[in-house]
Symmetry: C2
Subunit: 351 residues, 2 copies
């Protein structure tokens, strides 16, 4: 159990690392940021900093040795990086969560076979023939995705019919996976924490709206699902022997049923609203979990909504500042670029 | 108007500086801590740091020149320090607030004559004769205080009768002030912000309970006073042409009437509860004000109570962590010492 004065190492120095660092500081912990970018924004709120590549074994070893526990803010931490961190410190969540989350094929197979939760139909695609077969099996359209490194709609294409299969296949590189198209009514997520002793605490179901494949707003609590989504998230986290906060993204159908889209083994954009929900926020919850401390309360005091500030959205800052209901969170990034997450705003929308 | 990327300088590196730094980071600003202590706790969450004495003119000048605005976390910033900061940057709040707040005689005179607000009877004490005269004028008991550097009950003594005057006078050193004893029913405070254009936003009245002369709990909102306390705070802040957050401490009598005890030209322990009150917290409010930005909402979403963690109180951390209603804020100080503020806990006590 790591308490005040202990050092939390974070792989990655973006906004998630920054907000994790602030949460750690609020618990009296110190933070060490490891990232290749000298000007990573999380460094501003960390006591210790290492600037080195993720494949720099010597720097990684030195970093992990001085940290009581190491965590990460992104799921694409290389396996070898995770291994070195785990050998020289406590790595939480562990390497299995990374391995599963980094590859859509591994992920869906694990979710279906190990966690026993419903996933969309999927098929490994090594050729255009495989893609066409997926279309025949699941029906068109098919979503063709790269197995690795996809985010915010990047690395995926919707294939409407067999006629478009070749062009779609040629448009993506790397290992591919075909996924059945889910005619979902809405996208929802569960942000939950699992402690070192297996204790579990989930925030209520969150509804997520996307624009241009990027998360636009999240609202919590949303439609009740009788706890089914929480149970699924718990099954996954138990199967992973997970420690920390994890997000599970679902497609919810018109009849209320849920299919898991993907997991993110880290704090998650849809959980940012917990910062102003009147309970422990996801960043503190993650720090508590990885430090082996009891999880905090996860019952919001009111309905809270988060809106991302993407790219030029920050030009609306004066209006936001003039709105007494807007809780503003800016990340301190430089110039806005299209699609760049510059900050977010949380609002209590109902007591 | 200073926005994302601007640098906020803070004189002092304790818990108030630390929480100001976190609030600044949330607005995308960078922070520069100036303090003599190499291990000042606020440094952990600041991008820039200067370790130098407050009377080191060269270091102060260099510090102020690289900051867009300089503020302070304690009212005993030396006048010369403030002058150098003000010559080389924007100093907010200004030097007048420091001058007034540093000396109880100057403060009470200013409050009575310039701000036109009610203060307790007071008398400059240069001799035991002055003290006895105060007792005759106001009635015993009299509170004898040092004019400067008193805090948490230090530098003051209650004098029950003329017989005790000599011993009391001898027990304190430096310039002294005699204050009439206020038979108050409770102690309350107003934490309010005044912006660069004179805009004003006050949190509701806060009730404060002390133990051993140290703040123990604060609760907000408390008994209504029909806005009288807010009006008084505004009169004072207008008279000071104040920019930033200021606390005004009052004695409230049984009949509800208010007398001002003292002001603190900074964020204040009784305002910590705003961090979990569902509105803009006092730290962000201060940063907004000194950066010339609009003030945030100051209407709490619920009744919130803060309890300080003093000295060994932190031994109760496991129980606090197990309490889902406890919002824990630890400062990351080293070993607990009697009377040392180690952290605080905020609780929503009523929606």
């Amino acid at each position: 159990m790591f308490g005040p004065g202990s050092i939390v190492g974070i792989l990655g120095g973006g906004q998630l690392g920054k907000m994790l660092a602030v949460a750690a500081s609020r618990l009296g912990l110190e933070v060490h940021i490891y990232a290749p970018e000298p000007d990573a924004i999380a460094r501003s709120v960390a006591k210790f900093n290492t600037v080195a590549a993720y494949d720099d074994a010597a720097s990684l070893t030195a970093f992990a040795k001085v940290c009581d526990v190491v965590t990460y803010e992104f799921e694409n931490v290389p396996a070898q990086t995770a291994a070195i961190a785990g050998e020289n410190s406590a790595l939480r969540p562990g390497a299995l969560a990374l391995e599963v989350a980094q590859d859509r094929l591994t992920e869906k197979t694990f979710l279906r076979d190990k966690a026993g939760v419903p996933v969309i139909g999927f098929k490994d695609v090594k050729s255009v023939f495989d893609l066409k077969r997926a279309g025949k099996e699941f029906g068109w359209p098919i979503i063709l995705k790269t197995r690795r490194f996809g985010y915010d709609g990047k690395g995926q294409v919707k294939v409407d019919s067999e006629a478009g299969a070749q062009a779609a296949f040629d448009s993506l590189s790397g290992d591919l996976i075909a996924e059945a198209f889910a005619p979902f009514a809405r996208e929802v997520s569960i942000v939950a924490a699992r402690g070192l002793s297996g204790d579990f605490a989930a925030y209520p179901l969150i509804e997520n709206l996307h624009r241009n494949h990027i998360l636009h707003t999240s609202t919590c609590p949303t439609h009740s699902d009788k706890g089914v989504a929480k149970d699924m998230a718990k099954s996954i986290m138990d199967a992973l022997d997970y420690v920390g906060v994890m997000a599970t993204e679902f497609f919810q159908m018109d009849d209320g049923s849920l299919i898991i889209n993907e997991i993110a083994p880290r704090v998650h954009n849809s959980g940012h609203l917990t910062q102003n929900a009147g309970c422990t926020d996801q960043f503190e919850q993650h720090i508590r979990a990885i430090c082996g401390r009891p999880l905090g309360g996860a019952v919001p005091a009111h309905i809270t909504q988060m809106t991302n500030l993407i790219g030029d959205d920050v030009a609306g800052l004066p209006a936001l500042e003039a709105d007494p209901a807007a809780n503003i969170h800016l990340y301190g990034k430089g110039a806005p670029r299209p699609g760049r997450k510059m900050g977010h705003v949380n609002r209590i929308i109902k007591d």
